[in-house]
Symmetry: C2
Subunit: 361 residues, 2 copies
Amino acid sequence: MTTGDAPQGRDDGTSGGSGGRPGPPPDDARPATLRDVATLAGVSVPTASKALNGRPDVRESTRRRVEDAAARLDFTPNTLAQGLSARRSGTVGLLTSDLDGRFSIPVLMGAEDAFGFERTAVLLCDARGDAIREQHHLRALLARRVDGLIVVGERPDVRASLGRVPVPVVYAYAPSDDPADCSLVSDHEGAGRLAVEHLLATGRRCVGHISGDPGYGATRDRAEGARAALASAGLELAGGRPLLGAWSEEWGRGATRSLLRAEPGLDAVFAGSDQVARGVLDALREEGRRVPDDVAVVGVDNWEAVATGARPALSTVDLDLQHLGRVAAQRLQAAMGGSPSRGVERLPGRLVVRASSAPRG
Amino acid sequence: MTTGDAPQGRDDGTSGGSGGRPGPPPDDARPATLRDVATLAGVSVPTASKALNGRPDVRESTRRRVEDAAARLDFTPNTLAQGLSARRSGTVGLLTSDLDGRFSIPVLMGAEDAFGFERTAVLLCDARGDAIREQHHLRALLARRVDGLIVVGERPDVRASLGRVPVPVVYAYAPSDDPADCSLVSDHEGAGRLAVEHLLATGRRCVGHISGDPGYGATRDRAEGARAALASAGLELAGGRPLLGAWSEEWGRGATRSLLRAEPGLDAVFAGSDQVARGVLDALREEGRRVPDDVAVVGVDNWEAVATGARPALSTVDLDLQHLGRVAAQRLQAAMGGSPSRGVERLPGRLVVRASSAPRG
DNA sequence: TTGTACGCGTTATCAA
DNA sequence: TTGATAACGCGTACAA
């Protein structure tokens, strides 16, 4: 209702027969087409098209008439029809495996806003981690003639390539097993290094590592990063090796207690996730250690609710998955434009310092 | 030009000039069209169409030939073209306001799987809570000729209606302010009743309510449900009134301590969210109360990571937002089919009992 | 049973 | 500068 009377009255008067009174405007009217605009402006359809698309070979006065008519009819070009002749849908598919997971969402958000929605819309499908369903969705997306595809894995480990697909594909979060594909992942090893270097910088010397499921590649990578950072300072992990278990608070608590028994002088813990870190913090408090005065703690994920609700607030490595999603979208656009990338690209996280790793003092 | 030489080179041999050797198949070939299929099968395009669409008026042997040809060419009908003539895109828009929020995701998942993806795909857009951007996205969705629209609000409060839109709209999670629209929301009052009735059933008599932001309608509704349930049993809220503050653990801890001072006999707390409930649990433990032996606790949300990580595991009301999303999709499909609903429909949650509210014993 | 003709809404080409 | 014509890929009415 902004401008006034725009929409329906395309046919002023002509509609005659059906309704009778001019009262309730026939809003069942279908959206205005270019032909409606052309007719109203008194030009041919192609001319109307050129005028609205800002092509130079059209008289100014004509263009004005057409634009006017378009505005009056609230004309919006039918994207499907445009796509049909242009042979592109202006659409990309987002094939995810775990919408419920916390990880695919930021990636998805980043991707979604990297494409200006005007030009490229996002078709969402969640395969629920089922390969069959994924194939199903893939076919459906191709039937819709998506111009490209982003595949978001459910966990940060290598996954099966989609294989030959007639449109460009970018893998995000979980890399493809085919090195010819383009994949974007977080630098987990770098995350481990980042965390431990920070702990060392605050003067810690006895640094343990408690992390989650040893089956995850990210678990191993983060541990390796931690080990390397310590090695550069001539140190080793407290306890001699990382304590790997599950991505849960409970594991964090239990592992912390064993580690304290083995290394009473412990003055820092790098936890493999914020959830694990929560467990670490709780166990430390209950064992009478003060954080950060006695022991500093750093997690991974920067899961807001968890990190800021912790006591004290948790320092953590933010993997910046939203940025990862944005970059994925950029790579995909480049590929759609004819400049594909290939191989695995690792994106760095960034440290978010809160109270749990403040320097002693 | 009608039948003779289809597009280019997909047909064996003729491509000649460019490549040279017949080695690598020209996979840059555009997807097969119905015309390609018809040509290969030696029939006309409409016949091929009928054959593939299972229409009866086609000889069996012909149908076989066509299906065969389609399979050989890996033919997939172009949904855009189908939609163009059918005047429907087979697409619905999902207009959300806070992808990062935990609440819109389940709704979105439910909606996504209620539409069989084959027939209806979901176009995702996140307005980031910005009304301008929402208008933008709305226009873009309409340009893509979505057949319907689901609007997922960012918090469980009344939001502005989109107003007149040429396709059916369903509001989920946050209801529209226009009673003529169709809205689906959680029954927050019912959730409060559910929680308190459960606490009473386990023998509790001194029940407090600690909840979040008093500006939320859901906060008031849950409190009212709690009050009503107590009243039915001839009781009042411990402390005389609900303690409202913020959706944080910290608030949960602080409020719990005040409540214990005011009501030393407290034997149950209904927390307005799982996060608040976590704070309640921690404070109770630190004040020396055992859960559930001394005090039982029930939350709202069934936020897995939070509820199962709690000590003890947290009983909670699951609002079943995924189901809400499914129902929203069903209502939308009905509306698209010509049978619109209107008004606000409230969907019940369900109680998930864990250790924190086990009967004393 | 099969094919011809046409429409869906838009853009590109080329002649006027 | 403008418009007739064709094409994009498919479905449907109707004639053969």
